[in-house]
Amino acid sequence: MKTITRESRRDFLKIAGTTAGGLFIGFNWFSCDSPKVEVLSTEEVLAQAKPFNAYLSISPSGDVVIYSPNPELGQNIKTSFPMVVAEELDADWEKVRVIQANLDTEKYDRQLTGGSGAMPHSWERLRKAGATAKYVLVAAAAKMWNVPAVEITVENGIISHKGSGKSGHFGEFVAEAAQMEAPEDVQLKDKKDFKIIGTPVKNVDADEIYTGKPLFGLDFYREGMMHAMVQRAPFGMKIKSIDDGAARAVSGVSDVVQFGNSVAVVGNSTWPLMKAKKLLKIEYEAESTVESSADHDRIFQELMANGKSEVKRQDGDIKSAFQKASKIVSAEYQCPFLAHSPMEPENFFAHVQGDRCELIGPTQTPDRARQTAASILGIPAENVTVEITRLGGGFGRRLRADYVEEAVHISKAINAPVKVTWSREDELTGGAYRPAVRYRFEAALDENGRMIGYKLRGVGMNAGNTTREHNFPSGAVDNLLIETVNYESSITTNAWRAPITNFLAYAEQSFLDEVALEAGKDPVAFRLELLDRAKNNPVGQLGYDVDRMIGVVKTAAEKGNWGKNPNIKQGFSVYFSHRSYVAQVADIEMQGGTPTLKKITAVTDCGMVVNPTGANHQVRGGIVDGMGHAMYTNLTFENGVPKQRNYDSYRLIRLKEVPEIDTHFIDSGYDPTGLGEPALPPTGGAIANAIFAATGRRLRSQPFIEQKEFSDIKLEIRRS
């Protein structure tokens, strides 16, 4: 085994930390001249951790401190990342303490939350971090006891040597370990020996959450901190004039600040600002297009018919396939804009002092927050610090740094620390939405009901590519054309949980249901027939693993009792996104003539499941999210302003609207992939297909409750 000399460690860490795929591991004693000092309180740990590159440190008391670099927004990364480190370390989980790391681009790679990518990105390096720590601790014990390292065993934070009967906890070897050579490469555990990974470990922040301790950005207060709320311009408009007299007159308001097309009211507490903001009299004028939802419908129709498209994929001879088809099936699907609507509204703390800036708050992209602040202030990025609080949801909204930008502008203008708080109305009108999109699908069937041609044309708003051209059913159809058209809207848009696929999957899986039924085939059998083709004789590039997709389809059909009970009308859907595969079966039972949605069965292949509790959470949460927005939620515009401004009109799914959800996981032997998003895309399709099976009504637009096809369907939802 190669070793790295003590002198070169610091350089090694730096290089590894900045190289994609490189091992980054830091024990803070590596870069200390003196051995690791006592670590007791969280504050002390944080204070000591700052100068070091570190995933983990161990105190002389044997407490293991694991730093979790990626923002936690409910995906449970703050629990599952440390589980992986602790597993390879063979730590006693009871002695593990987890700390949210601040932004540190030297120490950490990809310190963001998005794309369900954290676990697949970090799996190997987290394991190595734990394994390397164990290696030097064992080497230290071997030296101190004068026994061969190979005879030493580690279990539950205890290092033992059977022959001599000696044993001790990690902390006893920390000082000696600091003198040890760090291995460049280290043996990882066999997965079958995992003791922590694969077990239901509870949320590490549970005590704080359930007792109301300050954890979230909105909970951050500091002596002397000012509060601010911001009025933003309607989309496509700019400020013509401002009358802030009435706002300034509100008791508790200290300042009104304008930057760009935004106006901030500043004061020493939140409530006066809510009142003052309403008293701002701002006149706007058009700057670019000022859009309403009716415009979007018209634009979609025009661009679907005549818009200049970009061809994303073309296989075979699409023209002749449709010419010789014995049957052609076509349909258009459309969805509305949506807000992300995390329960914790956007907020951020900024303190600009000369050429330095301190940022604290909820962000999915801390480095973007830092770069944004540096750019506004014209200062080097390293002069900006970012402390990541727990996020009260994100769903993609906090990938943007617009609210960080506001805090920076205001702090600079008033020369004081400030926390910007958005109201729910700000959140729903503040932009960066899931954009509306419209799809047209066409399928050509031969006389045997085989799909010989497939066309997809998507028209998106600021979406770039509205398709996933190498996804199923690509690879399974001889003649295929996938193209996309883009419209540049003045309404700001952004990634929303499972970008593109959050609606594309619904549209595609509903359309394939239509095609299967037109072909006279069972929807599951029809999909398997296509997958069989993709497996045995694939056409062009495949962006998915056919066997894994077949695996979830077959298992979902089995677990969901597909087609077994004539009284239960079922809908099927399967989708691959963010490296994971999820198939779902929705069950609607006719109860006294009333269609009743009773259950959704979900089968997921996300490779190895790190934490069954967290995995279940993500799958059920994704399904509830997918169902809620497919069924109920709409965001429409009138002259550049959303009409739904709070939860009284922007309808989110509630407890009584969720059916039973039965989750299953396939252990395909692969390394774990992310789960924050993949369970959401298939859900709308499974439900819509079940509604069709039960009522004969095909829902091609969302939200379902606003479609005329759904208006006389009294869908009940029951939990067992």
């Binding site: 549970a206 008791s251 509830v624 939990r719």
Partner: protein
């Protein structure tokens, strides 16, 4: 500005605020009790749920002037050591995803179980339907309320 004497979590407080200030913002901005969350501000989501004389109340639409001598309990004061049966059940079931709404959910559940110690699942559903969880932890919320009812 007016002066108000408040009883929160068994302690007395005096605050100087406008009389239309919602209890939510008095708790958060003036008393430093941030466990009560702001989310919608219009009594739709329940993140701000506290108990006033034991009744579940949306503090975001409760003006401070209407509180008077009532006993206010927030998530911080639900139990001394975080061991109220509802808190224990939440921990046992591992309910939270992001966790932001859970304080309000727990306060709703605790008040409900005090009034109805042996609820049916349907009664639990009706009570908890007042609170939104954007992460979709509804199945675990039901499970935890039922467990708390069983364990009390």
């Amino acid at each position: 500005m007016a002066s108000f004497n408040l009883k929160v979590n068994g302690k007395s407080f005096q605050v100087e605020v406008e009389d239309d200030t919602p209890l939510l913002w008095v708790l958060r901005d003036h008393l430093g009790l941030v466990g009560t969350k702001f989310s919608c501000g219009i009594a739709q989501c329940g993140a701000c749920t506290v108990h006033i004389n034991g009744n579940p109340t949306f503090s975001c639409v409760t003006p401070i002037s209407s509180v008077g001598n009532s006993e206010v309990t927030t998530i911080e004061g639900l139990s001394e050591n975080g061991d109220h049966p509802v808190q224990q059940a939440w921990k046992e079931v591992d309910v939270a995803q992001c966790g932001y709404c859970q304080g309000g959910q727990i306060m709703q559940a605790a008040a409900f179980l005090k009034q109805n110690p042996n609820p049916s699942m349907e009664e639990i559903d009706n009570a908890m339907n007042r609170n939104i969880c954007r992460c979709g932890t509804y199945h675990k919320i039901r499970e935890a309320v039922a467990l708390a009812a069983k364990n009390k």
